[in-house]
């Protein structure tokens, strides 16, 4: 299985540990074997260990160490935010966040919706069973 996601200038990564947990950052340069210079529109450019990053499939087209304006423009051009939110990984994270922020009333509404959905599924299943036996 060859590798598909490489550490390179312009690779978008997700921070999976530490203060910036959950943020999408762009690898802007490589310091050495374990660290990268990392930048994002809402943070000061800084170094991060690769152990704190998970690489994504998204890559943007920038030169080594662009200034903030070019970085933001390149991110807009590559439409990183929308691509991320449409990807299955991104969607799962959004759902996780939503589930974690539910209050009791929301959980009650979800319970009712689940019961309704199960009822509809069971009706269809009963119909199909009747057709096969008949």
């Amino acid at each position: 299985m060859p590798f598909k996601r490489y550490v390179e200038v312009g690779r978008v990564a997700l921070v999976n540990y530490g203060k910036d947990y959950g943020k999408l950052v762009v690898i802007v340069d490589v310091i050495d074997q374990n660290r990268a210079l990392v930048d994002s529109p809402d943070m000061v450019r800084g170094q991060m260990n690769f152990k704190r990053l998970t690489l994504t499939d998204i890559k943007i087209d920038i030169k080594r160490v662009p200034n903030k304006k070019t970085l933001v423009a390149a991110m807009e051009a590559a439409d990183v935010k929308n691509k991320w939110e449409k990807s299955s990984w991104g969607r799962k994270l959004i759902v996780q966040k939503k589930r974690a922020s539910l209050n009791d009333f929301d959980r009650f509404k979800i319970m009712l919706a689940k019961i309704k959905k199960a009822g509809v599924v069971r009706q269809e299943l009963a119909k199909l069973k009747k057709e096969t036996t008949a």
């Binding site: 540990y17 310091i31 210079l37 000061v44 170094q47 030169k63």
Partner: protein
């Protein structure tokens, strides 16, 4: 990023006497964990260079020096003198880092691990920011590539906070990216 070693600029001179009304003022740039240690190290080095001690000298200024551009990567060359079990040796080491304090900290940890030299046996002679063409070590030169690209080969997924760490796991980890 908090560094253990801070860079200080220490300025001091001998006390004025009747023979010498305006003694020469000396300035040193050192690395120490705090100001007190920096002042002590200043007198240690100055005693070796001039006939002056802390008891007949005065400290004029001590300021911490901060990194001017902590968002750019630089190649640092560090010349040092260290004491091994058999004698004193000089060394030149190169590090790639964003700040000089980070490079110095890398140096101290590397000397401790590779040569078992503790921090008090190391004297930093000189540091410099080296342009990429003049770097001597292969391990720093291999990152001088504008189209650098490599995969992360063994990727262990960690729990996002230390609170969620468990000693026993149900299944073996998947190390592929």
């Amino acid at each position: 990023m908090s560094y253990k070693f801070h860079q200080f600029q220490v300025v001091g001179r001998g006390l004025p006497t009747e023979t010498d009304e305006h003694p020469k003022i000396y300035r040193m740039k050192l690395w120490a964990t705090n100001e007190v240690r920096a002042k002590s190290k200043f007198w240690y080095f100055l005693r070796k260079l001039k006939r002056v001690k802390k008891s007949n000298g005065q400290m004029l200024a001590i300021n911490e020096i901060f990194e001017k551009n902590p968002t750019t990567i630089k190649n640092y060359g560090i010349w040092l003198r260290y004491q091994s079990r058999t004698g004193y040796h000089n060394m030149y080491k190169e590090y790639r880092d964003t700040t000089l304090n980070g490079g110095i900290e890398q140096m101290y940890t590397e000397m401790a691990s590779r040569h078992r030299v503790r921090h008090h046996c190391i004297q930093v002679i000189k540091t410099a920011t080296i342009p990429a063409k003049l770097c001597k070590r292969e391990s720093t030169k291999q990152f001088h590539n504008s189209k650098i690209k490599f995969p992360l080969v063994f990727k262990k997924v960690r729990p996002p906070t230390r609170k969620l760490k468990t000693t026993y796991k149900a299944s073996r980890p998947n190390l592929f990216v």
